[in-house]
Amino acid sequence: MAEFLAQLVNGLAIGAVYAVVALGFVLVFGVAKVVNFAQGSQVMLGAYLVWVASGWGLPLPLAFLVAVAGSVLLAVLIELICVEWLGESAEIAPLLSTLAIAFIIDQTVRLVWSANPQRFPNPFAGANLRIGPLYVGLTDIIIIATAVVFVALLTVLLKATWVGRSVRAAAQDPVAAQQMGVRTGPAKVTVFALSGVLGALGGVLVGMYFQQIDPTMGLPFGLKGFAAAMVGGVVSMAGAVLGGLLIGVAESLAGGYIGSEYRDLVAFVMLLLVLVLRPQGLLGSRALTGLGGSRGAGAIPTTSPLADASGFPVTVMGTRRIPVWWVALGTVLLGVLATTVAGSYWSGVLAQGAIFATAALGLMVLTGMTGYVSVGHGALMGIGAYWTARVVTALDLPFELVLLSVVLVSLVAGVLFAYPVLGLSGHTIALATLALGQIGYLLFLNLIEVTRGPMGIGGIAPPRFALLGGATDFSVAWMTGVCFVVLLLGLGLVAAVTRGQVSVNLRAIREDRLAAEAFGVHVRPYLTIAFALSSVLAGLAGMMFAYQQSYVSPDSFLILVSFLLLTMILAGGIVSPAGAVVGAFVLVALPELLREQTELREILYGVVLILIIRFMPSGITSLGRRRASSGDQGPDGKAAAAEPAATEPVPGGARQ
């Protein structure tokens, strides 16, 4: 019993931290309608700033103030970039850009203070408090008390001051608030600044709890904060607190009674259960699940996340319709070069390019065609890779059978991956897939019997073709050749998708899910098909990854990989097969120039992504093209599209 109570208090302490992170997330989402994926990194940075300021000899409270200042500055900067500067871009712009900033922050911290964990100062470490028969850590009590005080302050701020009133007005009905003279711009900056304060607070509490900090801790804490917010229902502060505490306690109990390796999985599994069973969250109302798609009056009705604020589909902006067979031809040429004249170093680089191009094609089929942004494709790649590693090392299967089995396994994985996500909309899709990606990583890490955990699986023999009389070869050229052949297979699959009605139906779902459904598109099966095909391509890429590296380990399938794939399809042009392939080769080759510093490479990806969203929303393959001109004459085109009501008065009748 005492043991249970101790676990409970411990769970409440870490839960209070999650609640703080979740609050930052809910505030920003409520007002700016943006999921701030950098929230976790803000927590991490907050912890580092406290650590640095303590290093100057400042006491903890003063160090905390320094961290608040830094964190608020950063949060406002994020707002300026992702909300103001990219405000006119596609719906997914803030999502992708906050994600990019998260990676930039993480890598910068790693660059400045090294990847090594640092000891976090905690003056209360080791002290216990005796309450009746129970010993509880003083740190836990202080964490809970601090969180309670701050949540109370925040509540007072929002309920009783004019700042709070304008923030709440902007959250409830931005249009009405604007008409009433509340400027929503400052309200957005305010909530981002508040999220900065909460980030610093989360950082100091996390640091005290674990007494150790490192640059990679942002993502898991951000994700758990998101999970807490979603479990609670995204839109209410009480929900965020409840969600945080629930996850903290569940995690602590699971760690204590089931095994510490399951501790991290608990939060994400809870999140998935909530998404499937009660997508509006425990305290949310059904009416608020439609997070995406509501745009201003006069906009073209659409549910596409790839459309800008007026409903204009950025996907078609200047898109060159490059036929798939051109891409195939280019691939063949590049493949020939890679296997003949390229030296073994560049041959290897091009093989990596082909592998990522295959995976990027998969992501294009899903995200480009249906608008479902997946930040978890790394896990799908990982499943293909681990499957390959196991069947090749244990059964020594020929390539043909490995390929076939990877396709089947990936189909199943894709359907399972789709299941919790199908009912969601808008940015919550990205969050759910991010959680799935992280679950995948944690499973690769912890299912030791299957994956050998952090050790990984090595000694994977190169592909052996039974149909070619068991032909195999240990040369780089052979491996590179197979990578290109698989990429061609992938292109064949993509050609089959883009040629037929499947593509039209998927894009109809992307453009307007409601209208697609009203005109007979069977939405759920079609989305499942898109996930499954996408997963097959990712799985094939994973298969070649395992062969080419001859070794797989969990670190190859971090969320970073999913993010890289997203950057690739955005860089190339999100809706075109040519874009996915070109984007993959360019982004694999580009950082070879900065080969020595991997941190710089990831910062580069982040910056590239943000610049592309701003300046080249339909990617490299549209270079040299301007926004497609209007095909209609007269008062038509974009002007009419943005404001039909103003251009066409209707005599004697209401138009709506």
Binding site: G290, G292, A307, G311, F312, D512, A518, A641, P644, R655
Partner: protein
């Protein structure tokens, strides 16, 4: 052909559909009129399955369809257009119309179901001959329906739908609906946003369609009374979610209760021919813009 029984839907405190019971005969054309916020669009949403009722039943050809989603209803032959026309902005005009045409062809002789959908997708991926026939047939239908609008849509078949004018988007939506060859066609304010000439053109086109397909059952929401007179045999007048009149066009449009609903009691004496849209109502929320039910659909 289509029948609703004690159909009920409330949004918070607003009753958008108040225990409505109506039966519509096959092959007829029925207009639904009423001031803004009367619940006309809500009725369309309930008929097409985009919004689920709080209570009551919907029957299509004596089959109970209350629990079915919009895709299933469209497969059974019920097609609707939206008040704020919802073309697929990032698809070409032909592709947009093909979405309607293809599913019209596909569900002509096959039932709606997950297995069928997966089979059809596989046939499309493999490019099987049966699928090619379906596609060619659908393409033909799509082009034929676009051809009804003269040179307004056909020359623009490869343009993205977002480049179209407001009136042309409406035409795309109507072509898409007709290409599905529905048994029941529900139109939500088909002429909204069109000038008198365009309105006249569309009314003539819809009259032609009715003459060509006498078995088609049409239900349309309309504010322009000349269109109502011309196209309907029966008029349902709604106010505050309830049916306040159900009559022939001539009778309904001179009914004092109807004029009162539109203009308030004082104006009953001097009713005009064109009915303004009831200024005393709150502005229309435009339920197809993606309200809560829309998102969940």
């Amino acid at each position: 052909m289509i029948r609703v029984e004690r159909l009920r839907k409330a949004y918070g405190g607003v009753t958008a559909c108040a225990d409505l019971t109506v039966s519509i005969e096959p092959g007829t054309s029925t207009a639904v009129i009423g001031p803004n916020g009367a619940g006309k669009s809500t009725l369309v949403q309930l008929l097409s399955g985009v919004v689920r009722p709080d209570a009551g039943e919907v029957y299509l050809a004596e089959r109970r369809i209350t629990g079915l989603g919009p895709a299933h209803r469209s497969a059974l032959g019920l097609t609707r257009t939206f008040q704020t026309s919802r073309v697929f902005p990032g698809l070409t005009v032909l592709e947009s119309v093909m979405v309607g045409a293809y599913h019209g062809v596909r569900y002509e002789d096959r039932p709606f179901g997950t297995v069928g959908t997966l089979g059809d997708a596989a046939a499309s991926l493999l490019g099987l001959p049966a699928w090619r026939r379906r596609r060619d047939e659908a393409r033909e239908r799509a082009l034929a329906e676009m051809g009804r609008f003269g040179d307004r849509l056909v020359p623009r078949q490869d343009d993205y739908a977002y480049t179209l004018s407001y009136a042309n988007r409406r035409r795309v939506e109507i072509a898409r609906a007709l290409a599905a060859r529905p048994k029941v066609l529900v139109l939500d304010e088909p002429t909204a946003g069109m000038n008198p000439t365009e309105t006249e053109e569309l009314a003539r086109l819809l009259a032609d369609v009715r003459a060509e397909r006498p078995e088609l059952t049409t239900v349309f929401v309309e504010h322009k009374m000349n269109v109502v007179r011309r196209l309907s045999q029966r008029v349902l007048v709604m106010d505050e979610g309830a049916l306040i009149a159900d009559d022939t066009p001539q009778q309904a449009l001179s009914d004092p209760r109807v004029i009162e609903a539109y203009l308030g009691a004082s104006a009953v004496a001097k009713a005009g021919t064109e009915m303004p849209s009831g200024e005393r109502r709150q502005p229309d929320r435009g339920p197809d813009q993606g309200g809560p039910d829309a998102a969940g659909a």
